[in-house]
């Protein structure tokens, strides 16, 4: 995952990266309840877990997960503008699991910034055409009423 230039550049520019080897720091493994390897976890600047990815992912999938990490980290701080940007980046990786999740949350970030209810219906309409069989599409059904 890490030799990929796009992944390396994103981590270098946007995160504070820490490698925790089980032999060097078993206490940290216990502290964060690690149950499988690799586990990659994002924390907010105040040390709270944003989310974790367990298991190996190929480059594009992992890149998408990193974009989602950044989006959720911004959303946790109600920084909707930057959240929207990072979720949008995830949504552009069309053949990844991150894309529909990014598309859904990009819409949520836009809605959260404006409270414009018409945006939710727009998201629903988008999911009628794309990623129709994903759980993210199903989550938008409630907004079409």
């Amino acid at each position: 995952m890490y030799p990929a230039p796009a992944v390396t550049a994103l981590i270098d520019q946007q995160f504070v990266p820490v490698r925790v080897h089980i032999k060097e720091n078993p206490t940290a493994w216990k502290r964060f309840g690690i149950r499988w390897t690799p586990t990659v976890m994002a924390l907010t600047p105040d040390g709270k877990e944003v989310r974790r990815v367990e298991g190996y992912l190929p480059e594009d999938e992992f890149l998408g997960q990193l974009y989602l990490d950044l989006g959720y980290a911004c959303a946790n701080q109600k920084d909707w503008k930057n959240a929207q940007h990072w979720f949008d980046e995830a949504s552009k990786l069309e053949n990844t699991d991150a894309a529909p999740e990014g598309l859904y949350w990009e819409g949520v970030a836009r809605y959260s910034a404006t409270h414009d209810h018409t945006l939710l219906r727009q998201i629903t309409e988008t999911f009628k055409k794309r990623y129709t069989n994903t759980s993210w599409a199903k989550r938008t059904i409630v907004w079409q009423k």
Partner: protein, 37 residues
């Protein structure tokens, strides 16, 4: 001439990284590994 991809400079102290994260407003990325050293 092709340039080499930049390598990630991994830190190893979780709490120091969280303190840096608070200063820089960049999230921490923890990579838990058991790969042979």
């Amino acid at each position: 001439m092709a340039t080499a991809a930049k390598e990630i400079v991994w830190q190893h102290d979780v709490d120091a990284a969280i303190a840096e994260s608070a200063r820089t407003h960049r999230p921490v990325l923890l990579d838990f590994t058991a790969a042979p050293q």
